[in-house]
Symmetry: C2
Subunit: 191 residues, 2 copies
């Protein structure tokens, strides 16, 4: 299978090679031809699995997001209460992206984000990490015996997400120097 005409699992190999290139030299230097070369196939081979460079990039993004989700879910499952879970999510969020800032730029930098932070009640077609946060937040309200309107919930969620995402954004900017401990953010996230 190694040196046969057919690769075996080229699709995943292309994704892995793409991630490798991004980690080594950034998204800008990622080209379809390099990815193909990395997999020892011809430069047009990727077109059997992706219709465009953008499709490959989207596949990589969803691969990285899966990786991110695993860490988030692990963090959430380690604590008993929803309140702690939300704090743990924020911490994991910052840890994940300050560990590899390239992923932040890669995931959220360009405009073609498949992430949808929709606030509507059905979770359909939503950004997985945000779905998780919403679930934890709902549980938090229940555990605390709180009743809030949809609008109030929306504001809370945006506040939490904006705070954490904004911090990650700052932390991932080049040249930023603070004495802030990004891995242990202020815990009073919930207002």
């Amino acid at each position: 299978m190694a040196d046969s005409y057919h690769h075996g699992n080229l699709r995943q190999a292309l994704i892995d090679a793409g991630i490798k290139i991004i980690n080594e030299s950034g998204e800008d230097s990622l080209s379809l031809r390099k990815v193909a070369a990395e997999c020892n196939v011809s430069h047009a081979a990727p077109y059997a699995h992706f219709n465009s460079k953008e499709e490959l990039i989207d596949a990589i993004k969803s691969n990285v997001t899966d990786q991110f989700m695993e860490e988030l879910e692990a963090a959430v499952s380690e604590v008993p209460t929803a309140e702690e879970a939300i704090i743990a999510m924020g911490r994991t969020y910052l840890t994940f992206f300050s560990r590899n800032p390239d992923y932040f730029v890669f995931l959220f930098g360009k405009q073609n984000i498949t992430a949808h932070l929709q606030m509507n009640k059905d979770y359909k077609n939503d950004y997985p990490p945000f779905v998780l946060l919403k679930r934890m937040y709902k549980r938090y309200l229940e555990e605390m015996g709180l009743e809030k309107s949809f609008e109030e919930q929306e504001i809370d969620l945006i506040k939490i997400w904006a705070m954490v995402h904004g911090m990650a954004s700052i932390a991932c900017m080049k040249g930023v120097k603070t004495s802030f401990n990004w891995n242990d953010p202020d815990e009073r996230l919930l207002v």
Copy 2:
């Protein structure tokens, strides 16, 4: 001057053409050759004013940032107290970027950000909007008669900035639908 060999002020014309292209069809479709064509000069003409495509893009960024700063300073000068000024900044921040989301992606999307959100005491080589916020924040502490340590100040500033920047980030994401009023964010930004 119109059809002469020398353009007159090609440098600024290139920047304007770049902004136009970004507004019309996004940063991805911005090429040096298109910018040159837009100015009716040969494809290599830009190299008399910029050493690379990146340098042109940086120039465009600083142009857009100037525009942004004008609005921020106007907003700040319209209110008497520093507290109101900070809130006005947040509102202007969100208004500016929800008015033209492309600028947000363009300014903060890629990694080569010249913006430096440095927390050190000297404002040297700092991101102008952030310098303004720090000045307002300092004035706020004075007006309120508050005394805070450098670390506490740092945390406050990061919180404010992260909140506003995070909100703008969410607002500029494609496909986001909320009932949140981005132009009138929650005013309890200061903890």
